[in-house]
């Protein structure tokens, strides 16, 4: 078998991480939007992600699982360098997950406390993920500009998750909450647009490697297709939300979500292009970090067996719980 296994696993890991940020992204975004909603709206927001969030979070475990199985040498370096933000993210995810279950069962001030922890956990996890991204892209370098850059990444991920969370709500809710979600989506869009722009400008400035990869004429002209596509997707979301706000007979509630997903995808591709073929920038390529072929082959076999079923029953779950949410969970 003459397949470049490390490359295949790079792709699988990228797929898992992309699906994680898309799917858990809207869960976390909704968590961060909680304080902006009334009590009844909060119930609907939580109900809209109730059947999915467990499975959504599982993509993160798969992503780190592939990192550990396919690139064991990188696993220790990356997670060791990101020790504190990883701990913060995990604490956030724990609080969010437990608050999700407990807020439904609590009454009175307990419920308010768990609502607050639900928001706080979502925010902490998102912030830590953005921070980790900033540290990772810059090869874990220390220094003032690198910290500012990480802060910028953390802030932009918050905005982007809010955007996709609001886009999910547009698809899943109706009436007043949907109208609010349209406005939230536009705020998230402005925020994430500005942040993505800043991150795109800052990344080549803080990383000579990224600069060299992007500003390599004439390749640069071809690469400018990515920002152009990002701008197109951004405009699509802006216009579709604007149209939906004005429309009397709402149709096309899926458009903002599709546009937001496209923004994620494009940003992700740009990032992947900046990093490839390194799994730890300037230190380890995917081939250097890869596990033994015997291990990669058996994991790939597992993927090939499971993936069709996984896609089938995930699609099934989304079909069963498709449509607008009309009532609270329990």
């Amino acid at each position: 078998m003459n397949v470049d296994l490390p490359l295949v696993f790079m792709g699988l890991m990228a797929l898992a991480i992309l699906l994680y940020v898309l799917l858990d992204g809207f869960d976390l975004g909704i968590g961060m939007l909680m304080p902006a909603a009334t009590r009844d709206e909060q119930e609907l927001m939580v109900a809209s992600i109730g059947p999915f969030w467990d499975a959504n979070e599982t993509w993160l475990v798969l992503g780190v699982g592939v990192l550990l199985a396919a690139f064991p040498a990188a696993h220790g370096i990356v997670l060791g360098a990101l020790y504190l933000p990883v701990a913060a993210m995990l604490s956030g995810l724990m609080l969010r997950g437990v608050a999700f279950e407990l807020r439904i069962k609590a009454v009175g001030w307990h419920r308010e406390l768990w609502n607050w922890l639900f928001w706080f956990g979502s925010f902490l996890a998102t912030f830590a993920q953005g921070w980790m991204l900033g540290r990772y892209v810059t090869g874990f370098e220390s220094g003032f500009s690198f910290w500012v850059f990480s802060l910028l990444c953390a802030a932009s991920l918050c905005g982007t998750y809010v955007l996709i969370g609001a886009a999910w709500l547009i698809l899943k809710t109706e009436g007043e909450l949907r109208r609010k979600a349209l406005l939230w989506a536009r705020w998230g869009l402005l925020w994430s647009g500005l942040a993505l722009l800043l991150v795109s400008i800052a990344t080549p400035l803080v990383s000579a490697r990224v600069f060299a990869r992007w500003f390599d004429f004439p390749r640069t002209f071809g690469l400018m297709l990515l920002p152009a596509m990002a701008l197109a997707a951004w405009t699509l979301v802006w216009r579709s939300t604007g149209r939906l706000v004005r429309a009397r007979n709402p149709r096309g509630d899926w458009a903002p979500l599709a546009g937001a997903a496209a923004i994620f995808l494009i940003a992700f591709l740009g990032l992947a292009y900046s990093l490839f073929p390194y799994v730890v920038i300037d230190r380890l390529t995917i081939w250097e970090a890869a596990a033994h072929p015997s291990s990669l082959r058996i994991v790939l076999g597992g993927f090939l067996v499971v993936l069709p079923f996984l896609i089938a029953y995930t699609a099934y779950a989304h079909r069963v719980f498709g449509g607008k949410v009309r009532g609270p969970l329990y």
């Binding site: 499975a55 550990l68 060791g80 701990a87 069962k105 033994h292 779950a317 607008k324 949410v325």
Partner: protein, 445 residues
């Protein structure tokens, strides 16, 4: 900070996390099968009480599952943050087994749990039963892969070296390594017992407050009957597991039994205080020759002591005491399960005293499980992977104050989570079956 301190801190943090995590799978694996039983009884009899019991316990299941998921995610990261040397050395074996757990089990559980919880009025009854069954299968598969990895670390097999890299020679031997069948059946049974005692005990708590609650009595009886079968079975499985450990990890058995010196006709040490400095037991209460009988089934057989394995021996006192807690709790479980099953025969109501005892025993499965894991995990020290990798060689270079700060954070988060979990558990169980709980979201297609 010196290296031994770092090692202790890294181990304490990982041990805290893994000890917290195991509480939830220990319950959910067994509870998933009990839920399938409740669901099937409803399908078979059409008696609304069964579905009411199902609805109460599926909520507790969902909460426990979520706690297990979030603490499990933490573990998957801590392999890298706390033990980078582990993945470097045995990543070729550990990586695939962990990935298989996610691929084959985790998604299955997480997806169909949604259907189980919220799908009652959206899927057919047959499919709802199937979703319940798939979640039970998923939890069991999850345990299968994790225990395959844990057992491989205890009794490595099926590997070889190529260019200095440890790789799998035969995956069937890796998965079905010598201790795996014993550990897997012992743990599955432990989970069944944990769930059975939790269901019986929390239902008994409900009966103390509302003796007329028929559904609670029925759930209580189910738990007791399951426990009455599984508890004695666990004694047999535990004995077989012990004999397997004697063959492959004799130092662990010596620590469990408190045998310091090799001798024939070794006593069975019932209680003592092991003194690591003096390498002897203080205040020992012993049965002469019984140790040889238990371990070798021969009163004159030679039993190896810790001195044969020094310096590679585990800390004796924690292993010794944890083992006694596990066995003691296990024997108590047999007694309570049988007494309870007898007292509730043909739907009779047990005495209030027995109900209180059962309530107290709700957590017995957790106590025994934690004690058992302490025995097996501390008992394999100083090895992380027996004979291949020492725990001290797997630690990374994370600064001590990072470990300390995050440790404090984890302790705080876990304490909040555990307290909230127990409060909700007792509250839900005490409230009993709420007819309003049948509501599920109504959504247009």
């Amino acid at each position: 900070m010196t290296d031994p301190d770092l090692l202790v801190l890294a181990r304490a943090q990982f041990g805290l996390n893994i000890g917290f995590h195991i509480l939830f799978p220990a319950l959910t694996i067994g509870l998933a099968w009990l839920l399938l039983f409740f669901r099937l009884r409803y399908a078979g009899t059409g008696d609304a009480k069964w579905i009411a019991i199902y609805r109460l316990w599926v909520k507790i299941f969902a909460l426990s599952f979520a706690m297990g998921v979030v603490s499990g995610i933490t573990m998957s990261f801590q392999f890298g943050t706390n033990w980078p040397g582990y993945m470097l050395r045995v990543g070729n074996i550990a990586g695939p087994l962990l990935t298989f757990e996610v691929l084959f089990a985790f998604f299955l559980e997480a997806t169909f749990l949604g259907v189980m919880l919220f799908g009652t009025d959206r899927v057919s009854a047959g499919f709802h039963v199937a979703a319940t069954a798939l979640v039970a299968v998923g939890t069991t598969l999850s345990a299968f892969w994790i225990l395959a990895l844990n057992s491989w670390m205890q009794t490595p097999a099926g590997f070889t070296f190529e260019d200095g890299q440890l790789i799998a020679a035969n995956w069937v031997d890796v998965v079905f390594n010598p201790s795996f069948p014993f550990r897997f059946s012992h743990m599955m049974n432990a989970s069944g017992l944990t769930a059975a005692f939790a269901v019986a005990g929390l239902s008994a708590w409900r009966l103390l407050r509302a003796p007329q609650d028929d559904a609670a009595l029925r759930a209580c009886r189910t738990g007791l009957w399951v426990a009455a079968v599984l508890a004695p079975l666990q004694v047999v499985l535990g004995d077989l597991h012990g004999l397997n450990t004697l063959e492959h990890q004799p130092a662990k058995i010596a620590a469990m039994e408190g045998h310091w010196e090799t001798r024939s006709g070794a006593p069975l040490v019932l209680l003592a205080i092991p003194d690591e400095a003096a390498r002897a037991n203080r205040y020992a209460l012993e049965i002469p020759r019984a140790g040889s009988v238990v371990l070798k089934h021969d009163p004159d057989a030679v039993v190896q002591g810790l001195s044969d394995f020094a310096p590679d021996i585990p800390p004796v006192a924690p292993v010794f005491f944890a083992f006694r807690v596990m066995v003691g709790t296990g024997l108590l479980m047999v007694a309570v399960a049988w007494a309870g099953a007898w007292a509730t025969r043909r739907g009779r109501m047990p005495s209030r005293r027995l109900l209180w005892i059962m309530t107290a025993m709700s957590i017995s499965g957790w106590v025994a499980t934690i004690a058992g894991w302490l025995v097996t995990e501390i008992g394999r020290q100083p090895w992380l992977v027996t004979g291949l990798l020492r725990t001290a060689d797997a630690i990374g270079d994370v600064p001590g104050h990072y470990l300390g700060a995050s440790f404090a954070g984890y302790v705080f988060v876990y304490a909040v989570m555990l307290l909230a979990y127990l409060v909700v558990l007792v509250h839900l169980a005490g409230k009993g079956v709420d007819p309003g709980s049948a509501a599920v979201p109504r959504v247009s297609q």
